[in-house]
Symmetry: C2
Subunit: 284 residues, 2 copies
């Protein structure tokens, strides 16, 4: 019997492919040669990246900003791309970093995580506290979807708020314990992982290791691999000791691997290399 | 000579109207009688609320969640509504609570705050620290637009992260000082207020008063009035002593003032009452 729980679906897919998550951050002015610098070119580019990587990666992470930048036509492309990715068996993590309260959070959750949505999980901001997260979790749990809460981001200034010392712990460590608790009622029957995950950057490997101990049941989404500087050895610290429990996202190093007409081959090779590097450290 | 600085434009508009900001949170199932429970009904409703309140309120605050919930068609309605509001001289604060870093933050900023956008300001999440805010500020400052950073939200669990004690200050108080500093290079020539503002909830009046001292140059967007419990006396603490520097948003108490066929009259009356209550406390 298959489980429709998000973490179980994701882990099954990882087992068939790799923990690679391809970040779809399509910037019009950086589209490779041969594609129109237009919304249509963005759509073709995303289709092409999916075609080139769908049997290597577990999931794609379309970044809503680059679609919203194109106005409502961009949102149409976003939904088309998500449906196309799912048709290729890729799970879709919508990187929207939404975050609000009450009926507004419900509206975001229903918008992106309704039962038939072409999205499997959504990234969310934690600043409102549990009021801002529970509506997402309720909808996700009901519909076999996931939520990834930003805990420790990969950027240079992440620590300005996230590392503020509160007693003997940092803000993001306190949050990590909240995230673990929010997910406690929602473990997948196969993986024992929750539908509530955490975004934890590859660029802070020591924190990554510690945060795994604070959130033993949370799927991790680990950005910052490749172009941002995180290595396979770094991200390995975010996995559960058995080598499960996380996906690692890379965007530029895959989708901009070549700006020439060989962009699809280059993306495929970059994804294959990344998958091999991850397999190596995870089986070590 | 008129200034095209966001804070100057907003204050001039407040002087002509009131500090009332009408929150456009159109929920299909709560549309008043006589309107189709459909995206078309949402569009008619928003137009109707704008028609009823445009000469009373300084601005509207369309909440992106309720438009995104309707898919890309909803985003088309969002942009139409924003343009309609601007055509009625209302400023538009897009309540999107976006937040990301680098090129992604730039994409959100360009998407909502480009020179000809039918949006005047955008709400943003602070969790990434300055990397997540500067791209928004750069675009906003260049284009005469504004950015409102979430500092202290109006919800019950706001304190879970925002009030964590860091040394002798709370997280949100530390953030408040960052927000003031981020805006320091961008004061309007007429108001001496920045294009970088803060969202500070009406439901924590003591904090509101203290946060005004920490952010003397930041325009405040104060939610939580009316249905959430904030009173005119509460929100007065967020204004500068001369009675300027803030807008107060209300959604349910205006747009759901009546569910019957008199919804436009009821919305107008609710906005008039709120404007009168604010004038009274601000002139006291």
């Amino acid at each position: 019997m298959t489980s429709s729980h998000f973490a179980d679906r994701l882990q099954a897919r990882i087992a068939d492919t790799s923990p690679v998550c391809v970040g779809l951050d399509p910037q019009i002015r950086k589209l490779p040669s041969g594609l129109d610098h237009s919304p249509e070119g963005v759509a073709q580019f995303c289709h092409g990246i999916i075609d080139a990587t769908h049997d290597i990666a577990a999931c794609v992470k379309p970044n809503l900003a680059f679609f919203e930048l194109l106005g409502w036509e961009g949102m149409k492309i976003f939904w088309d791309i998500c449906a196309y990715a799912q048709s290729k068996k890729l799970l879709v993590i919508a990187d929207g970093k939404r975050g609000d309260i009450g009926s507004t959070a419900e509206a975001y959750a229903e918008g992106y995580l309704h039962e038939n949505a072409a999205v499997d999980a959504l990234t969310v901001h934690p600043y409102h506290g549990s009021d801002g997260i529970r509506p997402f979790i309720d909808v996700a749990a009901r519909n076999g979807k996931g939520v990834y809460v930003l805990v420790k981001t990969s950027n240079a200034s992440a620590g300005e708020l996230q590392d503020l010392p509160c007693g003997d712990e940092a803000v993001h460590e306190h949050l990590a314990q909240l995230v673990e608790s929010w997910g406690a009622a929602h473990f997948g029957p196969k993986t024992n992982l929750s539908c509530v995950g955490a975004v934890v950057g590859a660029t802070y490997p020591e924190e990554l290791k510690y945060l795994r101990t604070l959130m033993p049941h949370c799927p991790f989404l680990i950005p910052g691999y490749g172009a941002q500087g995180g290595t396979a050895a770094d991200v390995a610290r975010g996995f559960i000791p058995d080598g499960t429990g996380a996906v690692v996202s890379a965007s530029r190093s895959i989708i901009q691997a070549s700006g020439g007409s060989d962009w699809q081959d280059a993306a495929r090779k970059a994804a294959e290399t990344m998958a091999a590097e991850l397999r190596k450290v995870l089986s070590a």
